[in-house]
């Protein structure tokens, strides 16, 4: 973080001024109402959360074993596994596969990890045609934007925005009726699906024991992407693994409830290897790219717990900061409380040192997380690293050093309070300061500041107790 305005705040101010945030607040609250209703109606929710947490933490503890087992099973079923240490390598592998299979057209189902590694730009630059097929992601791609929410990418857009976008980009007559817009997208994308050579998906969960990839969608684009083309490429963050199908089932039950308030998502698609002998359809080839991209560094450190995240987005919907600033303020693929931990963990504090501070530590995220990740604790841990690395504004460091020195010496502390009282008398009018100098001006820019007590509590108490 620097002395000048923080990037997070600048982006927040920009998006608020652009009127993008009200729709996000409304949408997030609606999604959360669905979550609350679904969780409330589900008697075993609390113990399923415990089980889901135990499953995820256990998987992280033996991540290397599970990944090895998974890779062996994928191969047993005729699939191919690739390992990529970073996004560049993963994108390169996808491009190589597309070239070696004589691919022109690629369809993609919604995947945060491919957003994270900017896969689309890479493939488009290489001259391939790549189409996002999730309705929200399709809209994002047409608008050349990035998702504003982990599970609801176009939460910031109105139907009018989308109608105008479709009219301009797809050459259809303007409509802002969501059902008509939906039908336009269905027709348009159906043609692309049927002509596609290669499908790229992410991976909600991988199952070590069976070598399966689990993909969850509501629209069915995830199934079409992994059924229609000849080749299916999975890009999988290496932490997305569990031991068994039963483990996956537990996760899926809390995931759908937490993400969208559903008991299960519409399509839970379990892919175990490519099409087998006798299968009438499905891709002839399956490739799984297992991606590190900063994850092993995160795992090795004090934010390892964040890798238990199952990407439901529930923490975004309840976050009072996210609801005021929207997803783009976070400056990267992952937004909200989870983004404030994941992004600096994966990408480093140098570029994203402001994100751990973009929170009041209110704890609403921890309360709803289906795997009970202690996000405030992880934010505090990142703040400590940031502070140690010199990431704090110098006035904060100076101020707190002076304050700490006083607060460990009671007499000096009293003197400090008395000095505050004197300054307050000078600045205040009618008990309030409306324009404070220096960094206190950041306070009075937004609200009045009560006048510091002329005599502190301790001074008054001493007098009451008959001291001097």
């Amino acid at each position: 973080m620097t002395e000048v305005p923080v990037a997070f705040v600048e982006r927040a101010i920009r998006d608020r001024a652009a009127g993008k945030v009200a729709a996000i607040d409304r949408g997030a609250r609606r999604i959360d109402a669905g979550r609350r209703a679904a969780a409330g109606a589900y008697e075993p929710m609390e113990r399923m959360r415990d089980r889901a947490r135990a499953i995820r933490l256990d998987a992280l503890r033996r991540l290397d074993e599970l990944l090895a087992e998974f890779a062996d099973r994928v191969a047993d079923h005729g699939g191919h596994v690739h390992f990529a240490s970073d996004g560049r390598e993963a994108a390169g592998l996808v491009l190589q596969l597309a070239r070696s299979h004589d691919v022109d057209r690629i369809v993609k189902s919604k995947s945060m990890v491919t957003e994270e590694i900017h896969l689309n730009e890479y493939l488009l630059d290489a001259g391939l045609e790549v189409t996002e097929t999730d309705l929200g992601e399709f809209i994002i791609q047409l608008a050349d934007e990035t998702p504003a929410h982990i599970i609801a990418p176009v939460l910031h857009k109105t139907r009018q925005d989308i109608g105008a976008l479709f009219a301009a980009e797809l050459g259809v007559p303007y409509t802002d009726d969501p059902t008509e817009l939906n039908d336009i997208a269905r027709r348009h994308l159906r043609e692309i699906f049927l002509a596609a050579d290669l499908g790229i998906s992410g991976c909600n969960l991988a199952i070590a024991e069976s070598g399966s990839v689990v993909l969850v969608t509501n629209e069915g684009n995830g199934r079409l992407t992994t059924t229609a083309p000849r080749v299916h490429v999975v890009v999988m963050g290496m932490e997305r693994i569990v031991g068994t199908f039963a483990d996956a089932a537990t996760i899926l039950e809390v995931l759908a409830r937490s993400a969208t308030g559903q008991r299960l998502s519409v399509y839970t698609n379990v892919v175990t290897g490519p099409r087998r002998a006798g299968d009438p359809d499905g891709p002839s080839e399956l490739h799984v790219i297992i991606l590190d991209n900063g994850r092993s560094r995160t795992l090795a450190g004090s934010e390892a717990e964040i890798l238990a995240c199952i990407r439901c987005g529930a923490c975004l919907n309840v976050c009072p900061v996210y609801r005021e600033v929207g997803g783009h303020a976070y400056g990267f693929t992952y937004s909200g409380p989870v983004g404030a931990v994941v992004t600096p963990s994966l990408q480093g504090l140098d570029d994203f040192g402001d994100l751990p501070y973009a929170s009041t530590l209110c704890g609403a995220c921890r309360e709803v997380c289906p795997v009970r990740i202690d996000i405030p604790k992880l934010l505090l841990s990142l703040r400590a690293q940031s502070a140690s690395a010199g990431g704090l504004p110098s006035w904060v460091v100076r101020g707190l050093k002076v304050y700490a020195a006083a607060a460990t010496r009671p007499r000096r502390f009293r003197r400090l309070l008395r000095a505050g009282g004197l300054v307050g008398r000078f600045l205040a009018d009618d008990g309030w300061i409306t324009k404070a100098p220096s960094h206190a001006g950041a306070w009075t820019g937004a609200r009045d500041l009560p006048q510091p007590a002329v005599r502190s509590f301790l001074d008054r108490w001493k007098e009451r107790e008959g001291g001097s």
């Binding site: 900061v321 005021e324 140690s388 504004p393 050093k401 005599r455």
Partner: protein, 241 residues
Amino acid sequence: MATHLFVTCLVNGFFPAVGEATATLLERAGDDVEVPAAQTCCGQPAFNVGMHEEARAMAAHTLDVLDATAGPIVLPSGSCTDMIVHHYRELFADDPDRLEQVDRVAGRTFELTQYLVDEKGRSDLDASCDGCVATYHPSCHGLRNLGLRSQAEALLDEVDGLERVPLPDAENCCGFGGLFSVEMPEVSAAMMDTKLDNVVASGAELLVGGDVSCLMHLAGGLRRRGSSVRVRHIAEVLADD
């Protein structure tokens, strides 16, 4: 055995009346009140920005001051109580001696409403507030980290003449967040505005809370708006008889 009042730095420096009201309440609940004279700050401001060395120094001082007492320790703040009860353990994770001290101190440290209702079994403190229409904001650390909300509401419901009206979206953070309020003032103020809109919508003429930190932020925002809604710490409301 006396009850020890740790008033917190903000009460000490900005709101001495809240400290005095807290002492009055404890006395009304039958306790002898003592105020450790060497108390300063629990260290939370430094801890929350990640300056652990400074936080540890302040925490160690606070522990030494409090460990020298016997009997309950009461704070008119959920946030500072949470700091002592939960975060000291993290700060001193590598220091067994300090951890023992944390255990001794944290086990007898309580937030005011928690102490009155859960420990003393008192919700009626003979308070009155004639014609008051009040709403209560449950501050986040008390609410989520200490499980506090019903205690304050029970206490307010026993105040003669006070009508408590619900605060819409009460559990949404007010946007104070410690140094967040000056490091990201625009975001903090946006959250404050959401909270204040709800305060106004509640119809209350008095906003009550248990943490002066959140309250000074909200009171400052109300004053800037020119609102007539008054803001008081729950100790002040309960101390009025």
